[in-house]
Structure formats: C-alpha cells, structure tokens
C-alpha cells in the first residue's frame, strides 16, 4: 500500500520497551474508587445515585444530559460513600465532583446488565449506536470524545473507510501495543462492528513499525477471507503520526479540511481501545468501566501496563507497578509530548487515561530560562500542520488575536513538536493555548454582549411600537369621539338619554338620600 508523508514531525526515542517487558497486569478492586462525573469532552453528567445507595458493577450511576456526553457506570459493586469534589486528572490541578464508591469486595454484576448481542450483524446502525451510547464509551486515545456521536456522521456524509488508529506515536505509551498483542480478535471484532454501523467498505488498520508483535498478533487474528476488507498497514514511527489528521494523510494522502472533519473525506477514525470497548459493549453488554493504563517512566520501579477500573487512584496504580523509584519528581498523565503534569497522585484513572509517566529530576530537568526567539525556524520545520510557530508565538505574545488566527492558530494540534525543538526554551504550546482560550473567551463575551444588545434593541423596539400603537389607539378614539359629536342622529339619541336620566334622577332623589352617593355609584 502506498503511504504518504506529512510535513515535519519528529523521530523520538520511543521508550516503549520499558513497559512492555512485563505482561499485562489486571489490578484487583481497590477499596475506594473516585469516579468523576465528567470524563469526556462535552457536558458533565448528572448523578443518579445518592450517598448511601448500593450499586452493582456496571450500573449506570450518572446520566448523560446532552448529545455530546457519556454515561458513567459503577466500576464495581459497593456503597456510594459520597459525591464530593476530588482532584481529577486535569491540567488545572483543580478538583471536580466525583462519585466515591466504597467497594463491597464482591465485584457483583446486577440484573441491570445490558443484553449480549452476538447477533449484532442483524441489528441496525441506530440500535448499535444506542448501545455504544448506553455503554458510556468515549475515544480512549486520550481525547475522550463521546463515541456514539462520532459514529453518527452528519446527514449526507457517506463513510467508506474506517481508519483504526494503532499508531500510538508518543514515547513511553504502550497501552495500545499491549492491547493489540493481548486482544487482537476483540479489536478486529470491534472494527467489524463499527464498519457495520458506518456502512464502511474497508478498514485501514495502522500500526507504527515499532510494534511488530502487535502487528503480528493482528495478522494472525485476522481471517484469511477478510484480507481485502481489513488492511493492516505498518506505518513509519514519526511523531505525531497518531494524530487523526496526520494518520489519514499518511494512509490516503488526503488532508482533512481545516474546519472540517474526517467524515468530509468519507473517513471515520477510531482508536484500538475504543474498538475493544465497543466490542465488549455489544457482545457482552459491558459498559466502559475499565481500561489499560501504561504506568511507566524512570520514576517507576517496574514499568508495566495495568488493566485498572475507572476511578482507581494513580497512587494505587503506581503501587501495582512496584512503587516510585527514588528521586521521582514529576507525574504526567499522558505522554511526554502532550501529557500534562499533575500535582497529586490521588487523582483517579478516567476513560481517557492512557498513560501515567513518572520522571526524576535528571530525566526532566526544570527548563532553562526562556530566551528570546531567534527565528531559527526549527519549529516551522517540524510543525505537522505546516504552520509558522514562531510567528504564532509573536502574535500570541503581543495579544494580536486577529493575526494569530490569520496565521492558523486553530489549525494547531498542540502536538508540542515546536516546543521540543525550540532552542530558546519557549513554552510555545502554552502561548497557543492561552491565545485560544482568550479568543474563545472573547467570542463568548461577544455573544453575550450581542445577546444583551439584541435584547435591549428588541425591548426598545417593543416600547416604541407600544408607544406608537397607544398613540394610534388614542388618535382613533379621538377621531371616533369627534365623529360622535358631529353625528346628528347620535346626538339627539344621547340628548334624549341624558334627559331621561335626569328625569329619573330627580325622581329618585325625592325618594332617598343622599343623592350624591348614588350618582357616584352609577357613574
């Protein structure tokens, strides 16, 4: 198969062997699980349980309220201890609401388990998508976008190709590698299910060429007759080839339009872990309650891959991997290029946690002082989006938000190549994130202001209209009155009535007093 190149990228030492020497370890059930209400891109979920409730394994404990959202399920059976703010894996190091489950050590499934669908081929896309949604599945490559929404391309977009992303291009991370080695049949079955949902004619399954064992396992697991349908492709190991857009370019030579989606090219891309989760949801009725996490880095005694329940704390994970090595200094969720440092190992594993990287001071020394940009252009050379990172930096720093967008800020995928090669130690990606946040913030402000202005203008318009209508009404009334005064028939009729009333009144005033009161009452 003819492969293509994307611009830039980096060849990085992959450091994957460290964590793949040990076999996959399935962790036991910890005493406490901290399950965040929001583990995905999109709106947070709404809890269905109260402190004190008993829950079964796999029971839905928090409900998606929105289309771009994903249900949360109990990873094990036990008692809801609390729903409190707890540190979550987020760059801000802030806390967010988590459901704390105290395990009852039975790890017991209830009768709420979804039915298994071994006959999935007989089912339509809609019900399978509904199953994916019911199982709370999100993209497990790290971005955690709700999968059911991704499997439902906009109307009119015909999908012909499912791209399976087994690239895993960031150094240190090996959870997909181990997954492909351990469960190749399950991943391929997941790919068949997703291809069925999408109506795709072919599956391009890409694996970086630094994972030969994974590729061999998949080749062995693939049925001989589907070699044309599912094509296993070994791609060069260049960071960030696992970026969705980069991967599609490598495989097809086509670029996903800037403001568009892969679906615009008839392609949907799924991570291997997501496919395994979809297969488990469809064939076993099992929601997404566990995942494989790579626990690795020089700061870990026995780097390895651990299959852990969602909600397991990083401290428990590290303990399962032999504990911290002396001198551990930094804890990163994700890989070294795009991952973020976390301040506390009490944070739990969430659906998108692919890797926990621990380093010592000597591995990741504090960055040197930031020097001025010397415009060396290294960042331009390595940028996979073909941007001019040095110019973006310039504009972001100067808060020239129009120019920074003009230079393609929102085409930046934040892969970190530019920051890695920058000789001046400039945290370039930070500047881009800052600029994006500012622009989004301003956009929101602008929308708010627009709304307020619209409301104000509408109110003014309404008041003016009311004034006008009132004036018109008054004018009409006056005109009518004037007309009344001039109408001779009407005038005689009125005069007659007044006469009669007067006569009646004088008659009454003779009968009872006081007449003034009665008159007032009649008027």
């Amino acid at each position: 198969m003819q492969l293509h190149r994307f611009h830039g990228g980096l060849k990085l030492p992959d450091h994957k062997a460290e964590s793949t020497v040990h076999p996959l370890l399935t962790m036991g059930v910890p005493k406490y699980l901290y399950v965040p209400l929001s583990q995905h891109i999109g709106a947070p979920t709404e809890p269905l349980v109260q402190p004190g409730d008993h829950v079964f394994k796999g029971q839905r404990i928090s409900q998606a309220k929105d289309y771009i959202c994903a249900h949360v399920h109990a990873p094990t059976s036990g008692r809801i201890k609390d729903i409190v703010d707890h540190p979550i894996p987020h760059p801000s190091c802030l806390s967010a609401p988590c459901i704390v489950i105290e395990s009852d050590a039975h790890d017991q499934w209830g009768d709420t388990r979804l039915p298994a669908w071994p006959d999935w081929r007989e089912r339509d896309a809609r019900s399978l998508r509904e199953r994916v949604r019911a199982a709370g599945i999100v993209g497990m490559g790290g971005a955690a976008f709700p999968t059911a929404a991704k499997l439902n391309p906009r109307a009119g977009k015909r999908i012909h190709t499912l791209v399976v992303n087994g690239a895993e291009c960031e150094p240190y991370i090996s959870c997909d590698d181990i997954l492909m080695r351990s469960y190749p049949e399950a991943i391929l079955e997941g790919a068949r299910i997703v291809a069925h949902i999408l109506g795709a004619e072919r599956v391009l399954f890409a694996v970086e060429d630094n994972k030969p064992e994974a590729l061999r396992a998949l080749t062995d697991a693939r049925r001989a007759e589907e070699a044309d349908f599912i094509r296993l492709v070994s791609i060069p190991s260049i960071y960030p080839t696992g970026g969705e857009r980069q991967l599609i370019q490598v495989l097809t030579g086509r670029e996903v339009p800037s403001a568009g989606l892969p679906a615009d090219l008839g392609i949907v891309c799924q991570n291997t872990g997501t496919l395994k989760a979809i297969r488990d949801a469809v064939l076993q009725g099992q929601p997404l309650i566990s995942r494989i996490v790579t626990v690795t880095g020089p700061g870990i005694r026995e780097p390895r891959n651990v299959e852990a329940l969602i909600g397991t704390t990083f401290a428990d994970l590290v303990a399962a991997a032999g504990g911290y090595a002396p001198g551990v200094d930094r804890l990163v969720m994700g890989g070294p290029m795009m991952g973020f440092a976390i301040g506390d190992d009490a944070v739990p594993v969430i659906k998108g946690s692919n890797c926990l990287l621990a380093t010592r001071v000597q591995d990741t020394p504090a960055p040197g002082p930031v020097m001025p940009c010397i415009r060396c252009g290294e960042c331009t050379r390595v940028c996979p989006a073909n941007l001019l990172p040095q110019q973006l930096y310039w504009f972001a720093k100067g808060k020239d938000f129009d120019s920074v967008q003009d230079y393609g800020l929102f085409d930046c995928i934040e892969c970190g190549c530019c920051a890695h090669v920058c000789p001046s130690n400039i945290p370039l990606v930070q500047y881009y994130r800052f600029a994006k946040q500012e622009i989004w913030g301003r956009e929101k402000e602008r929308q708010k202001a627009d709304l307020a202005r619209e409301r104000f203008e509408f109110r003014q318009l309404r008041q003016e209209r009311e004034e006008r209508e009132k004036a018109e009404r008054l004018a009409r009334k006056k005109a009518a009155l004037a007309k009344k005064d001039t109408d001779p028939d009407r005038k005689t009729a009125i005069d007659g009535a007044i006469e009669r009333a007067r006569a009646k009144k004088s008659a009454q005033s003779n009968e009872e007093a006081p007449p003034a009161d009665r008159e007032r009452a009649n008027s």
Partner: protein, 347 residues
C-alpha cells in the same frame, strides 16, 4: 503524594541558543585558520580583540538594561558577532577600527533594538559597513601572503601594528599589501584589461586569488558541516550562491572579457562566508522556507549588481543589510499553505 507541575513537553530539550551559536563558532574555525595561514597573525589578533570588545559591550549593555549578564553572555551570540566582524576587517587594521565597529554592532545594531532576537539588521554587517564607509583607507589595506612572508611579521609585531596603527620600522604598507581579487578585477577592467588577462596572473589559482580560494573552501567545509548538523537550512546559502553564479554566468556568457566568471564571483570576497555564516543569521533573515529562498536570491543578485556596477568592490554586507529590510515583507507574502487549507489560504 504531591508533585511539581510544569508545562509539556516532558523531555530533555534537544537544543539551546548557546548550543546553536557555539556550533557556528566551531564551523568558523577551519576558515579562520586558513585566513591566518595566508594573512598572518593579524587575523587571530583581530578575532580575539573583536570578541573581547563585543563581549564587553554586550555585558555593558545587558547590565544597563537590567538583564542577567552571565546568563545572557552564555548564549555566545556576542562572540559570534565579534568573530564575523573581525573576519571582514583587514588583518592589520588599527585597534580603533575594531572598537568602533564592534561598538556599532553590539550597542547600536543589537541592543538599541532590543537585543538578541529583536535586531532587524545583522549586527556584524552593520559594524562592518559603518567602518567601511567611514575609514575606506584603513579598510582597503589587505596584506598579501607573499608580502607578509618577505616581511616576516611576528606575532608581537602584528599586535603592535594593530594597537599603534603603525607598521614596525623599515616596513612599508605598499610592500606588504596588495589589491584583493575583487579590487584587482575592478581596477584592471576599468583600466582596459580583459578578465582573462587578470586571471592569468600568477596570483590566481583556479578561479580567484589562491588564498581567497582556500579560505573559501574551508569556510565552505564549515558551512556544509552546519548544514549536516541542521544548524542552518539549505535555502539561503544555495539560493544566494546559485543566484550569484547564475547572474554572473549570464553576463560572462555575453561578454567574458568584461564580466568575470561565476566561479570567480563565488570564490572571491565574502560570497561563501556570507552565504553560510552571515546571510543565515536567523534573527535578521526571512524565516519561511520560500522567504529564505527569495532572501538568499536577493542577496546573490544585489551582491553581483553592486560588485559589477556599484561603488564598492565587495557587496555582501550591503546586500545582506538591504535584504534584511525586506525580510518581514518576504515572510508576510510567503506563508506556507497550512495543513487542510486550500492554496488560496482559506479553509
């Protein structure tokens, strides 16, 4: 357990500004040694003094601007500017030429514009042009290798000449200096000789005067090493030398008696050191790939035009400064097509 947090990437960075600058310094060594071999101790004296002055001015300016002095000196950019400036100066030039030149380079061209990363013009070339237009006589006295051999000027005598501005007793400037190849070509052609008559001179090697050819070869070697180390990209040196050679070639084909050959132009004066070491100064050059090609081509073209029809024998410094002026415009009009955008730049 609590941890320190800081921003990604969480890897040891591969480059540093000081590292980049120092690689350029290493790449200058072979060519500088070749020049010392041919033009005597004066080259080393100039390089040492110019570096000393540059670093002093840099330290003064950094201190005056309230920045950390030692950390800033660690980027080695002042050393590089001083070194490049020194290579442009005749080896026996008086010390005040070095002082004034480096002062303009570091104080005016660099720090008054905001220091490293902010200077629109190449500091070394600003310093050189200031002394070139101010002191044309001192800047025209290039020693000749054979003159120096005859005079056997020692290191101390050289240092003395530089510091006092006077040759040791019994030595004459005329005896130890001669016209550089570009000067010679220019004057000979003006006086009615043909190009071939000039290049047939025993002073000439394959394309130009032997010593300039050799210095050029060794600077080329350093430049190729920089390319190999990816300190510089190919765009500027290739486009500059190719343009210079192409334009020279066109005129040479038209009238080989009046216009010197492309090889002469490439191997004379500052063409090679300019292409690999001066025009590639990233701060003052264009930064987009296409912009760099145009930037280099502009320098090549202007160098030829000024050499051939202008008032100065060599023109790399002027050409570089002129192209520095348009670098931001080049960058503006040569933005690469962003991934996922169509050719016209829209999504």
């Amino acid at each position: 357990m609590r941890f320190r947090t800081c921003t990604s990437p969480h890897l040891i960075p591969g480059h540093s500004v000081g590292g980049v600058m120092r690689q350029v310094l290493y790449a200058l060594v072979p060519g500088t040694l070749a020049m010392t071999w041919f033009f005597g101790w004066g080259v080393l004296v100039n390089v040492s003094l110019a570096i000393l002055f540059s670093v002093l001015f840099e330290a003064l300016m950094v201190a005056a601007r309230g920045r950390p002095v030692l950390a800033t000196l660690g980027d080695s950019s002042a050393i590089l500017a001083g070194w490049l400036f020194a290579l442009a100066i005749p080896p026996l030039a008086p010390v005040w030429v070095l002082l004034i030149g480096t002062a303009f380079a570091i104080v005016v061209a660099k720090h008054l514009y905001g220091g490293l990363g902010y200077n629109p013009f190449n500091p070394a070339m600003v310093g050189y042009v200031v002394v070139l237009v101010s002191f044309p006589r001192e800047l025209s006295l290039w020693p000749s290798p054979e003159g120096l051999t005859n005079a056997s000027l020692s290191f101390l005598q050289t240092l003395q000449t530089t510091l006092t501005g006077r040759l040791p007793d019994g030595m004459e400037w005329d005896a130890i200096t001669r016209a550089s190849p570009l000067d010679m070509m220019r004057e000979s052609i003006v006086s009615g000789q043909t190009v071939t008559e000039v290049t047939r001179s025993p002073l000439f090697g394959s394309f130009s005067q032997t010593e300039w050819e050799w210095a050029g070869n060794l600077f080329l070697l350093g430049g190729l090493w920089l390319l190999y180390r990816r300190v510089i990209t190919w765009h500027i040196p290739v486009s500059m030398l190719l343009t210079l050679a192409t334009v020279a070639g066109v005129f040479w084909v038209i009238d080989p008696d009046y216009f010197a050959s492309p090889a002469f132009h490439v191997f004379s004066g500052a063409a090679i050191i300019g292409a690999f070491f001066i025009a590639t100064d990233p701060v003052s050059a264009a930064t987009t790939p296409t912009g760099r090609i145009l930037f280099g081509a502009g320098i090549g073209l202007l160098t030829y035009v000024i050499r051939t029809w202008g008032g100065y024998p060599d023109a790399v410094a002027f050409a570089v400064l002129l192209m520095n002026m348009v670098a931001p415009t080049l960058d503006h009009y040569t933005r690469p097509r962003i991934f996922g955008h169509s050719r016209d730049g829209h999504g």
